[in-house]
Amino acid sequence: MINYLKLNKLLYILAFLWVIGSLMSCAGGRLKINNLSSFTAQHSIQRNELEKVIYTCQINGGYLWKKYSLSGLLLIKKMDDESSRVVFQNEMGMTFFDFEWDSLHQFKVLSIIDKMNHEALIKTLKKDFEVLLRLYPAIQLENLKSDGSYIMLNLPKGKAVYTLLPQNYLQNVFIVDDANKKIVSFLATPFQNNSVPSSMTIQHHKANFDIHLKQLHQ
């Protein structure tokens, strides 16, 4: 009986340590940025100007012992009417979702499969693409701050921080909370300010899922 109780206690301790370990592994840490000064014209953020980009896309995640993985093609296209579309479909052509931002950057879900049609997921994906493609209303772009290494702008919730490289290139991007704790990390290859990276991993530290993107050249 005593041995059983000890074993039971040990299992609880191991489970507790495992949960703590899992939580720590999900944490994104804090982004070390100085007090950023006011925006100067030489450090700006430009919207993606590419007419079309196709990525191969993989989404991985898990909860406790269960894991999942989805893959397909992600099409980003700028339309003639200045709206932007992001479409995710599987390799055999079935569309998972079709998102639109009109010329005024108003977001709309044009189609989504039932099983993805959840507000929390749509909000997360919307925010990811808005940060990636810089689909910000003009008023947000007027409130940029920079120290020459990072450029930051306020989102409705949290902040987006872009890593600046010389010659108007960008690299990693982060969404952080008010205490600069990373919520989402976009780990990208260097890309021009008016473009998108050729490959990238988007890590959601709280939601514990990640998106891998690799540009496809047809």
Partner: protein
Amino acid sequence: MTLLIFLTLHFIDIEYIMKYGLGLCLVVKMMLSNSFDMHAQNLNEVFAQQMHKTTSVTSQFKQTKNMKLLKEKITSTGIFYYKKDNKVRIEYQHPYNYLVVLNNGQMYIKDNFGKVNQINTKNSQLLKAVNSIMIDCMNGNILNNKEFNASTTQTDKQYLVHLVPVSAEMKKMYNNIDVVFDKKALHVVQVKMAEISGDETLMEYFDTKTNTAVDDKLFKIK
């Protein structure tokens, strides 16, 4: 929110596999049914006879996804293999690598990033249903599939099978699916899947060979 996103994506995965499985069944059916009798009452018999004769199929394919509203076409190419019994390999080779192997209830998927997923289709009710449809594809009963209403037409050179979804699940995805057979060779040459959104996926098959030697290693689930 974390839990919600997990749950959402977890069930997407099952849904994805299920729908994907149904899609595969169609492809298998199309590739195997290299003879077609326009009289519905004889169709199952002809199909079953043909299944008995066919031990393997190999074919090149070209897939074109036509996104009408986006005015965009995405094209990919690859090789399709079937070997009796219950073995299928669909290998996308350009412009991305994507591999699906079906072997006796096991599904193996390797995506463009090299990530492998292996699924036992017997471990869930949904996948069991998919598996039973796959078996129907193999034994010639797929034409009795209650998911579609079938009608047929023909030209000098081709047979056309027009499939309209019946079940609510399939109706959410497709308006119709058209399968075109070459009359002389009795091979499937084209499959066009028209989605509810207006988009279309066209599969074109060429260089089809039947009853040639196909290595079992191609269907190995690692």
